[in-house]
Subunit: 335 residues, 2 copies
Amino acid sequence: MKTHTLLMPLDMHLHLRDAVMLENVAPLSAYSYSGALVMPNLVPPVATLDDVQAYKQRIMAAVPNDYFEPYMTLFYKNYDKAFLESVVDDILALKLYPAGITTNSEGGVSSFDIEEMRPTLQAMSDLGMPLCVHGETDGFVMDREAEFMSIYENLASSFPKLKIIMEHITTKAAVEMLDKYENLYATITVHHLLLTLDDVVGGMMQPHLFCKPIAKRPEDLDALLSVALQAHPKVMFGSDSAPHPQHKKESCGCAAGVFSAPISLQLLCEIFDQYGKLDNLQAFVSDNAQNIYGICPEFKEVVLAQRPFVVPQNYSGVVPMYAGETLNWAIESVE
Amino acid sequence: MKTHTLLMPLDMHLHLRDAVMLENVAPLSAYSYSGALVMPNLVPPVATLDDVQAYKQRIMAAVPNDYFEPYMTLFYKNYDKAFLESVVDDILALKLYPAGITTNSEGGVSSFDIEEMRPTLQAMSDLGMPLCVHGETDGFVMDREAEFMSIYENLASSFPKLKIIMEHITTKAAVEMLDKYENLYATITVHHLLLTLDDVVGGMMQPHLFCKPIAKRPEDLDALLSVALQAHPKVMFGSDSAPHPQHKKESCGCAAGVFSAPISLQLLCEIFDQYGKLDNLQAFVSDNAQNIYGICPEFKEVVLAQRPFVVPQNYSGVVPMYAGETLNWAIESVE
C-alpha cells in the first residue's frame, strides 16, 4: 500500500469558533495538524490581549493533548504602537476584514485609506507583525477578489517591509500578484484546489460547497493548482475550514463556509498524488509556513495511506465537504 | 391609486408539470394570463400527438374556467415530415433541449450536427413551426449561454425561414443576436430582469433564486432590461416559472427553477413602472407574442394597482420567488 509521511502539518487559516462548536471541531484539527492560525472573527471579535489569551486558553482546553499549537490572530483595527507592542508576543498576525464581507466581519475596515491605516501598519511593519487579509470588495461576486488587487498593490508598495498574506486566494489575478511584490504571500484552501463555480451552482445547488470567496472559473483553478503543486515558496496551505451547524447550511439563505478540517490532509494527498507532486506537499502544508512566519512547530508525524476513506455524514452536527463520498487517501497514523 | 391595465397577458414559457403539481399551479397562471406556452419536459417527455392531446386535456381539467389557453409544445427530436404534419394543428412550437442540460431533459439533443437535424428543421420551416431552444452548452456555468451563440448562428443561417426562439435568455451575448438574424427571437423571464449571480450566491445562498440558466453579470442584466423595457418586437415575456416541492429546493443539492407564476405580472408592473416604461409592458407581455406566433388569445383584462402585496410563503407547498416579501403592485381585478 502506497503511503506518504508529512511532518508537522500546519493549517494557516482556520475557524475554530467558540463554546460547543469549538469543543466539537478543535480536536479534529488537533488530531492531524501540529498547529493552526486561528481566525479572530468571533462575536465580539478577538481584539484585546485579554481576548487573545482567553480564547487561546479555551482552545487549549478543547484539544485533548499538547501537540497542537493555536497560533493566535488579532482582529485588525487601527491600533496604536503601544498596544501592538503589548500583544506582539501573544499573536502571530493581525487579520483584516473589509467590513461586512463575510461571517462576523461587521467590525472590519470600511475604508482602505492608507493614511488612516498608516500608524497601525507602520507599527506592525516595525514590530514584524504580519497582516493577513480577506481580500474582497463588495462588488459583483465573481469580481470581488480581482477588484481587491489594487488595494493589495497599494498596501504592498506603501509598506514594503510588512508581510501581507492574501488569504484563501481564488483567482489567477491573485496568483499573479505573488511574483510582483516581494512582501505579498498567500494561503490557498483545499476546496479551492478542487472546485469551480460549476461545483457550487453548475448542476444542483450545493450548500456545503458554498463559501466566501466563492469558487471561481476553470482558469482560476488552474492558476491556483499551478502554484500549490509546485509549492511556490510564498504559498501556504490554509484550509479556511469554517463550521456551521447543519441547519444553517441546509436552508434558505445558507451561510458561507466549507468544513474541511477533518478531511483536508487526505484531500491534499489525493490532489498532489494525482498530479505526481506528492514530494512538494510537505513544503505546501508546513515548510513554507514555517519559513514565512518564522515558526517551529512541535514534532508531529502523520502517515497517510492510499486506501478508501468514506467521509462521515457529519461530525457532531457539522456536515463536512464531500460527506458520504469516498476519498482515495486516509490517515494511517499520527505520532 | 395608480392602476395599469393589461389585455390578454401571455406567458410564453411555462412549466406546469403534471398530476398534483399541475393541479396546484395551473390555476395560478390561468387566473391572470390568457394563455401560456407549456413546456414538454415531463417524464417521459411530451413527444407524440397522443401525449400532446392528453396533456392539454389534463391542463384544461386543472384550470377552473375557459379563459386560459395552454399553447402546447412537442419535445424536439428528429421527426419526419409526415409526423410533423400530423401534429401541426395541435402544437404551437417544438422545444429543443440539449441532452441533460436542465430538469427532465435527458432525452434531448446530444449533437448539433445540422445535417442530422436538417430533415426535421426543414420540415418545421416548411410547415411554419417555430423552434424554441434552451440554449446552453455543458461548459462552465457562467459561459454556457454565450458558448451556445455559435449554435444559434448556425441554426439561424442554415434555416432562414425557421422561427427560432432563444428561450429565457440571460446574457448580453444573446441580446446582441436579436438584431443580427431576422429569424431569431427571444423570451425573457421576470427573474432575469431582477437578478444577477450576486442575488443567488453573493450574500447568503438563495435556493429559491437558483435556476438554469443561472442569473449572470450586471452588464447582462442591463442588456436584458434594455430590450425588455423598450419591448423590442422580437422579445416576449416567458416566465420559465418552474415549481418544485419545497423539500427539493431547501436541501443539499437543490433543484433548479424559480417559481414566479403567481407574482410575475405584479413584478413586471413594478419593473416597468420603476423605469417609467409601463406603456411598453403590453407589448412585452402580450402583443409581441401575438405577432411572433400569430396567435389571437381570448379576451382577458387584468387591472393591476400600485399597492402593497405580501407574497405568500408558499402556494400548496411550492415556495414562490420573494416569499414573504412585499411587492409594490397587486392584481386588482381580472375580467
